[in-house]
């Protein structure tokens, strides 16, 4: 479903992603793990047509994101790290808007919207504005929306950030369920190792722009001779803390955290 070969992306002299290759098979739940600044988001941006690679090739469902931008876009759904719902609109309106933007015919839009809102336990609240939703509900709505146009691949970039254990648990149950029923391939990033351990069929660990290990949770533990995925992760990536320079988006995130009503 996703095939990446010798992919690199440099920003000036800095190599954010350095010659990585991996494949994700259809129907897999693939976790992409790495410390801050390891190159996770840069890779996702390249896969999702938002950033052209410096070199290397990407095939998304057999297509190059650079050359077939719109075709690739209609084949994936994405949940960003930062919220991207319209808070003043209702859940149903957010779904509907997405459907129009993805050219989903009206009737199918209605039906699928209903199915997904019910699956994510949001149907009762479909007519409420999103600003009245809890963090977990918003995340669920974003995932439901990302699936509305029946994508082949679903990208989840740290979808459980800031959620309580209950919401996290519930969210992954939903994702696993949809993965089974719809056969959608899931590509996720997270900082919670227990989540990756629980849901992912395969895991890639990326550090300093290079993939340092790839395999199932069992394989990674065996490779590093550790008991838990967290220990394996730390052994693979070291214990040094990555102090990234805060960019404009980080500054805005801080301001947003101050103003956000939760």
């Amino acid at each position: 479903m996703i095939k990446v070969q010798n992919l690199s992306r440099a920003f000036g002299d800095f190599k954010a992603v350095d010659d990585i290759s991996f494949e994700v098979a259809a129907g897999e739940i693939f976790a992409f793990l790495g410390p801050n600044g390891a190159g996770k988001t840069t890779t996702i941006r390249m896969l999702t047509t938002l950033l052209p690679p410096t070199s290397g090739s990407i095939q998304m469902d057999g297509m190059d994101p650079e050359r077939h931008q719109h075709e690739v876009r209609s084949r994936f759904g994405i949940v960003f790290q930062d919220p991207s719902l319209d808070q003043d609109l209702t859940a149903a309106e957010n779904m509907d808007l997405h459907g129009v933007l993805y050219h989903v015919p009206r009737r199918i839009r209605r039906e699928r919207s209903e199915t997904l809102l019910k699956a994510f336990e949001l149907w009762e609240r479909r007519a409420s504005p999103v600003k009245t939703f809890s963090g977990g509900m918003r995340r669920r709505l974003e995932i439901a929306r990302g699936l509305l146009h029946t994508p082949r691949i679903l990208f989840l970039d740290e979808p459980t950030l800031g959620l309580d254990p209950q919401s996290r648990n519930q969210l992954w149950s939903h994702v696993q369920h949809l993965n089974k029923t719809e056969g959608v391939t899931v590509f996720l990033t997270t900082h919670y190792m227990d989540e990756a351990d629980r849901v992912a069929t395969r895991i890639a660990v990326i550090d300093h722009g290079k993939i340092v290990a790839i395999g199932s949770s069992q394989e990674l533990k065996a490779l590093t001779q550790t008991e838990s995925l967290e220990a394996a992760f730390l052994k693979l990536t070291g214990t040094a803390i990555r102090d990234e320079t805060a960019g404009a988006a980080d500054r805005m995130r801080q301001a947003a955290a101050m103003w956000r009503r939760r």
Binding site: T49, S74, S84, L89, H98, L101, Y102, A248, A249
Partner: protein
């Protein structure tokens, strides 16, 4: 084209749902109208210029449109990091359609806000010379809205963080307003001010409004309309270009 329509509709829905915001945004024009209108009225009359409220009301209405459309455009900065805009930028829709839908939405809501303030002006005592000219006035208001919604889109697409927002407010939006002749006549100004007022597109919006509403004009309504259409076209192209460069 359904993308353009649905994004335009989205802006409209958001506007009509934010009742408190609508009321709050009436405060500033009201302040100008009442404090300056009644405060400077006697001086204005003594200088032989007639009724100040009549003179400044078109300016205050145009100001509302300027502020509303610029803000909505600059709000794009927030919207693209923490809002719905981000979602639209990965949709299989050409960017130009997204930019167009959003900018038209901004312009429409700004126009509605301007018309609301126009009603407030009439309540405060403003009287247009003839009702026949109202559609022409709305036309000028719409042109002004498009010019500054496009400018706002260009700026909002280029800004990197919220600090830039304050800069734009203090060094662009307020000067655009104060240099537009909304509050004072353009006759007998110092040379520097003549140059600045003439390059401010807002000047032509205000002058056009005055031309049709109180039959008092510096450039003539045709000239005003031509300049606004020209500025609108240029800024829309610039806005579309800046918008196409947004990275997320």
């Amino acid at each position: 084209m359904s993308a353009v329509y649905i994004l335009w509709l989205r802006e409209l829905k958001r506007y009509t749902r934010s009742r408190t915001q609508i009321i709050a945004s009436l405060a500033q024009p009201l302040l100008y109208l009442l404090v300056l209108g009644f405060g400077l009225g006697p001086v204005f009359r003594l200088s032989g210029n007639g009724n100040y409220l009549q003179f400044m009301a078109p300016g205050v209405i145009a100001m509302t449109v300027l502020f509303a459309s610029m803000f909505s455009g600059i709000g794009l900065l927030w919207d693209r990091q923490f809002g719905f805009l981000k979602e639209t930028l990965v949709a299989p829709v050409p960017r130009i359609q997204i930019m167009f839908g959003r900018t038209c939405g901004s312009a429409t809501t700004a126009l509605l806000q301007g018309m609301l303030v126009a009603i407030v002006c009439v309540v405060a005592g403003f009287r247009p010379l003839s009702l026949v000219q109202i559609p022409a006035a709305i036309g000028f208001l719409a042109l002004t809205a498009i010019v500054f919604a496009a400018a706002g889109t260009a700026i909002g697409s280029s800004l990197k963080d919220m600090q830039g927002f304050q800069m734009v407010m203090n060094f662009l939006v307020l000067p655009l307003f104060f240099l537009s002749g909304a509050l004072y006549p353009l006759d007998n100004l110092p040379k520097a001010l003549v140059v600045l007022t003439h390059i401010d597109p807002m000047t032509y919006g205000v002058d056009g409004m005055r031309a049709v509403l109180i039959n008092r004009t510096h450039f003539g309504a045709t000239m005003d309309a031509l300049v606004l259409v020209g500025a609108g076209a240029v800024l829309t192209v610039v806005g579309a270009w800046r918008f196409s460069k947004i990275e997320i």
